[in-house]
């Protein structure tokens, strides 16, 4: 077989991009909300451990909670203010998790506490520790602790460092603006990442609808860095790790494996910029860039918003219309619907898309599967969603997992997007995967006992 990179992956879909309303708008600083609500579970892994007490005054950038083990990150204060309460706070899943209510001081400013800087001369371990101490997680939406992802396992080698500037989700322009406005931070971040991973080559992957960002970055590449920018065709889900790796280095990540199995590490571009900005000052993450858009928003834009800002406050500031109907945290393809406006901005919030009453797709009639094959032609993993959907209806979970590779599905939503019969395929698969995982865990428990 050819081992040449084809510059893209096979299959995928082309949803309307809807990026033109915000992609020219520069990043703007968002004001502090009168109350900041910080859940301690904003990342994959163990919740952060609170180290402040109620009534304590804290400065912006001060450590509020420390990492609870390796698979965890600390939390820093996004504002200077007073810890009002330590109690359970709502999160997007509808659950309540431990959190901190912070009341900012009136007129509190942007100045931030600095910690111990991590120099570029630091060892890979020190850099990984610095990344963890800064509370950095994948800002593309997954919120996976970045230091864990960057740790190269024994016996593996990292050749390629891919910087993910694809942003294939419709509506979102967060990464686009970061690339245009924070090039120096990105290249500083790349220096740290090169040191931490030992990669030989860096490729920044950008979709063709952000040519201006690609041109801008090409012009800024420092002479001494082995970096190139690769523009790839616009296609969803090009930004998925596996799809990006296939497009750029032409290899497939083995089923059930990780990018490092093909000697690659992928880091989101905004995460990279954050590393480059925070590590030289030993600071922690306090705010992030978020695209706020959608038909029900009048002041659409890209905003730098303090972590913990309540969603309700955010929407009021950007002129959300009275008849908002659905709020997606993240993009419309993989984002999650907010069940309440009482949740707050977390580290993984890459965008907020708001639809009004008239924009929400009506609950379309579900027809039987007519085996048109549109889903088969869309699935970037080459699964058979039509067959999997039928098996899910019969609750044939074992067959789904073992014969039809359900566990390789990463829920990109391409199959549901194209299905003419409006079958909620991804929803079926998400549920089925949950059930299969639970069953496996039960079996594991029994054998252990």
């Amino acid at each position: 077989m050819f081992n040449l990179a084809k510059n893209t992956f096979k299959h995928g879909v082309h949803p309307p991009e809807n990026k033109e309303e915000t992609n020219r708008l520069p990043i703007r600083q968002f004001p502090f909300a009168p109350l900041i609500i910080l859940p301690m579970q904003q990342h994959i892994g163990n919740p952060s451990q609170i180290i402040v007490r109620e009534g304590q005054e804290v400065a912006r950038g001060q450590l509020l909670a420390k990492a609870n083990g390796y698979m965890s990150v600390p939390m820093h204060s996004p504002v200077s203010g007073k810890v009002r309460k330590i109690a359970n706070v709502p999160v997007i899943s509808g659950q309540m998790v431990q959190g901190i209510y912070l009341e900012p001081f009136p007129f509190s400013g942007q100045e931030t506490i600095e910690g111990k800087p991590i120099p570029l001369s630091a060892s890979p371990e020190e850099i990984l520790r610095g990344i963890q101490d800064a509370g950095i997680v994948g800002l593309g939406g997954a919120a996976f602790p970045t230091h864990v992802k960057l740790k190269i396992p024994e016996g593996k080698k990292c050749e390629y460092l891919l910087i993910n500037g694809i942003e294939c989700e419709p509506y979102l322009t967060t990464d686009h603006r970061v690339m245009l406005e924070q090039a120096d931070d990105i290249f500083m971040g790349i220096r740290y990442l090169l040191k931490a991973t030992g990669a030989k080559e860096v490729v920044i992957g950008i979709e063709a609808n952000k040519q201006d960002a690609a041109d801008h970055l090409v012009g800024k590449i420092p002479q001494d860095l082995p970096v190139r920018v690769q523009v790839v065709p616009v296609k969803y889900p090009q930004g998925a790790e596996k799809m990006l790796i296939t497009a750029i280095i032409g290899k497939e990540v083995p089923s059930g494996g990780l990018p490092i199995d093909v000697n690659t590490v992928v880091v989101n571009v905004a995460t990279t910029a954050e590393i480059g900005r925070l590590l030289p000052h030993g600071q922690g993450i306090q705010e992030r860039v978020i695209t706020i858009t959608g038909p029900a928003i009048s002041k659409k834009g890209n905003y730098l918003i303090p972590i913990g800002t309540p969603l309700r406050y955010v929407l009021e500031q950007v002129g959300a219309s009275k008849n908002i109907s659905e709020v997606f945290m993240g993009g419309p393809m993989m984002g999650v619907s907010a069940s309440s406006l009482d949740i707050s901005i977390v580290k993984g919030t890459s965008g907020i898309v708001v639809f009004g009453d008239n924009d929400v797709k009506k609950t379309d009639k579900i027809y039987p599967c007519i085996k048109c094959g549109a889903c088969v032609d869309a699935c970037p993993i080459f699964l058979n969603p039509s067959k999997l959907g039928i098996l899910a209806k019969f609750e044939a979970y074992d067959s789904m997992a073992e014969e039809y590779n359900l566990m390789d599905c990463f829920e990109c939503g391409s199959c549901s997007y194209v299905c003419p019969s409006n079958i909620p395929l991804v929803q079926y698969f998400r549920l089925s995967k949950g059930i299969i995982r639970k069953r496996k865990a039960n079996i594991q428990q029994k054998t252990n006992a």
Binding site: T246, S255, E316, K361, K371, N405
Partner: protein, 337 residues
């Protein structure tokens, strides 16, 4: 202060602007020119046959749904397609009561017993047609010349024959090009065939209009182009080879392509999504299989035409094809089995 109950849905939150009823509706649009030409060529008799068949399908589907206490599914337009397709495979002076019975069987036996739309193993229209061929072998092979002078005004007596009364065979009957070839070794000119100037079933005559409908559906991305391409090219290549071998015994490949129900079957019946495989490679195999069967039945079989049986056998094979032909899943080494 924003306070409103939010709508929650599972991702993805946007949806491509296509739906099953829209696809079905477009198939009907693509079939309309075929129907119009049929009425133009065979007159009022053809119109009555097709209309009866559509009516029979809709009525059966509606009644079966209401008897099984389900929401009626006639609004998804699939029964209309079955009705039109069945009507188009019947001779223009086919007794209406038989057409109606065929429609009842097409929906009842071809679709409903399997569980309705999406679950039918075979193309329902062809199930109806197969029943009619077995039950009324004479009536279904009684052809009628096209472009008769009085075709818009006179209704054939056989069309209005009473149920189970001996069908009155109309005095004038015309052999189809395929039966003329089969039994008398006479081939019609290809241009007559392509333009629909020959005799045949109501919708089996004008190849260009059928192809146009297919091209429209392919353009709208509502039909798998590989199926007609696979069938037609297999028939063309196979019969071309035979023709090169001995052009006295075997008909020319163009004659094979443009005669009988091949065009209608390849474009509108074999492409029924439910009965065809789901992967591109599977579809090529399915199309080639049908193409081979068409040639084999037409040339060596006892019947002059074999498209119906070829497609029904293709439908029967397609779940097996889907079981065996599976694309390599991303990140796996070999085909999953």
């Amino acid at each position: 202060m924003l306070s409103k109950t939010l709508h929650i849905s599972s991702s993805p939150h946007i949806k491509k602007d296509v739906s099953t009823d829209l696809i079905m509706k477009n198939v009907v649009y693509a079939l309309l020119p075929v129907v119009l030409f049929s009425v133009y060529a065979f007159g009022i008799n053809a119109l009555l046959v097709i209309a009866t068949s559509v009516f029979g399908c809709l009525l059966t589907e509606h009644l079966l749904c209401s008897w099984s206490k389900r929401e009626s599914t006639i609004s998804d337009w699939s029964a209309v397609i079955t009705g039109i397709l069945l009507g188009l495979t019947l001779p223009p002076i086919f007794p209406l009561w038989m057409a109606f019975l065929g429609a009842v069987l097409a929906i009842g036996l071809g679709k409903f017993v399997f569980g309705g739309l999406g679950y039918n193993a075979f193309n329902p229209a062809l199930v109806g047609r197969a029943f009619l061929q077995a039950a009324f072998p004479v009536a279904i092979t009684t052809w009628h010349p096209s472009f008769l002078e009085d075709r818009f005004f006179s209704i054939s007596k056989s069309v209005l024959a009473l149920p189970f009364a001996e069908p009155i065979v109309d005095g004038i009957s015309g052999a189809t090009p395929l039966s003329a070839f089969k039994f008398d070794k006479v081939t019609a000119s290809t241009s007559d065939l392509a333009l629909g100037l020959t005799s045949g079933s109501t919708g089996e005559t004008c190849a260009w209009i059928i192809l146009l409908g297919g091209i429209y559906l392919i353009y709208r991305n509502m039909m798998n182009w590989r199926i007609p391409v696979a069938i037609l090219s297999t028939v063309f290549i196979l019969s071309g080879l035979l023709f090169l071998l001995d052009n006295q015994v075997y008909p020319s490949p163009l004659f094979m392509l443009f005669s009988g129900g091949l065009m209608l079957g390849a474009v509108f019946m074999a492409t029924d999504m439910v009965g065809s495989p789901i992967t591109p490679l599977g579809v090529w195999i399915y199309g080639a299989f049908i193409g081979i069967l068409v040639v084999v039945i037409r040339i060596w079989g006892g019947l002059p035409e074999g498209v119906m049986y070829a497609i029904l056998l293709g439908n029967a094979l397609s779940p097996q094809i889907d079981k065996m032909i599976r694309p390599k899943v991303y990140g796996t080494k070999k085909l999953t089995k």
